[in-house]
Subunit: 242 residues, 2 copies
DNA sequence: CGAACTTTTGACAAGCATCAACACGTGTGG
DNA sequence: CCACACGTGTTGATGCTTGTCAAAAGTTCG
């Protein structure tokens, strides 16, 4: 079907999860010119305000997008897993409106912006798959806005854990209630708009209720239904195919 | 150049603000099949969870997108002005992940989803303009997430007022520091994640500092620089052409 | 003119932030 | 292999921002 050994496979896997693509389209995607790079932990990939000429694809590890307020406070916008296109957004508008950095060691591929534009123009279905990817990404940000704007600390953290659990299963980086997720409580605070001290107290409450186990490097969900209830979580916004 | 009398003009004006389109592309857009409807205040256009087969275009008036938490709390996701495509997002994913309703009386046009897909496939530049529109829309949501997650009440409200002021100028519905904006303090609270009582106190503080005048139907910015400073506002995220 | 909505005010409570200190684990260099 | 530094997690005391509840005053519109 398609060259099984291309390093860009994780991207294709993610796109075809929601957009069917034929052999020509798949080959065109896998043959996109790219540059592979291995990055360490907390390496900046894109800085807000910079001109972007490449789109970055995450092949392994974890990354996050964020913005910084004038006060210095950081708001994480999304977390990213294997197969995610990290800055389809920034690629489209040229000047990055947010920053991106790795959370862990990560393998990434840089694709030239123009190559993406060309393949989208040549294969409309590919263009639609990019648009859909971008819209699903937007749906997750919208849910985060609801999370941060209207839910309390316990709900916010529970909700985030539910999301990451499901997305890791979809990405094939976890098979169930236990998964690697190397994130500090401070970063968890940046994602949910809570200080690290309050994150700590909230996580302890979740542990005490028997919902989760959690260390700096991995998470175990002990009570999936309970955690969803605690987080007011409903998976519809992830727009997964049935 | 293009038929000057098409009711879809405001959409074209908005798209061409950031994406140059040639005569063929412009005509194809203006000739899109559509159904014109005049709606009253607080009429729902799209309900979260519904299957979407049409894309709604706002020709006059104001609208907003929002989500509702399990507790019943509402989070507004964005506000919309003349020319905005209200659910490019929902059109792409079929099942709406958020709701849309009018804030005021409004003229809207409904475009069949498939007609948009077809015109985007036939004219790649049109497809790119849709993608860019969607990405700019996403950039605004990301800024709102920063706003709600990391700024205090006064900053949030000031920031929102700055955004609406600039976008109204860009949309041609205002020419300066004074503009119609029929929004209640409760709705302002939904947009910023604050209760209406606290919005009231905060608005009074902004008035007392001589930054704004504000009623239920319009806003006057008395001190533009001061309001931007109070709101930690920087326009880059709107991605306006220079 | 009255009904419904919106703004305003006050008293009080709660959730979360802030500040500070200490404990723990982990990796690194001497 | 130990010592140490550094990042992270944990705990406690305190206070501010914001939420909650309730009621009154003002506004809009049929």
């Amino acid at each position: 079907m398609n060259s099984p050994s291309s390093p860009l496979e994780p991207m294709l896997a993610k796109l075809t999860r929601h957009s069917p693509l034929n052999t020509h389209e798949r080959e065109a995607l896998l043959k996109l010119p790219h540059r592979l790079v291995r990055l360490g932990r907390r390496k900046m990939i894109v800085r807000e305000g910079e001109v972007v000429t490449q789109c970055c694809l995450l092949l392994s590890g974890f990354a996050s997008r964020y913005k910084v307020a004038g006060s210095g406070a950081m708001q994480m916008l999304s977390v990213h897993l294997r197969g995610d296109m990290l800055d389809l957004q920034n690629s489209v508008v040229e000047v990055a409106d947010h920053s991106i950095e790795t959370l862990t060691d990560a393998d990434v591929a840089f694709l030239p912006r123009q190559a993406l534009i060309d393949v989208a123009a040549e294969f409309p279905a590919v263009g639609r798959s990019f648009l859909k990817e971008s819209v699903i990404d937007g749906s997750i940000v919208r849910e985060w806005l609801l999370n941060v704007g209207q839910r309390n600390a316990k709900e916010r953290i529970s909700h985030l854990l539910c999301e990451v659990a499901l997305r890791q299963v979809a990405a094939g980086t976890s098979e169930g209630p236990q998964f690697d997720w190397p994130i500090t409580q401070e970063q968890l605070g940046h994602a949910t708009g809570i200080t690290s001290v309050h994150v700590n107290r909230t996580v302890q409450a979740l542990r005490a209720e028997g919902l989760i186990e959690m260390t700096t490097r991995n998470v175990t969900i002990l009570d999936w239904k309970g955690l969803q209830a605690a987080g007011d979580f409903s998976r519809a916004y992830l727009h997964e195919p049935a």
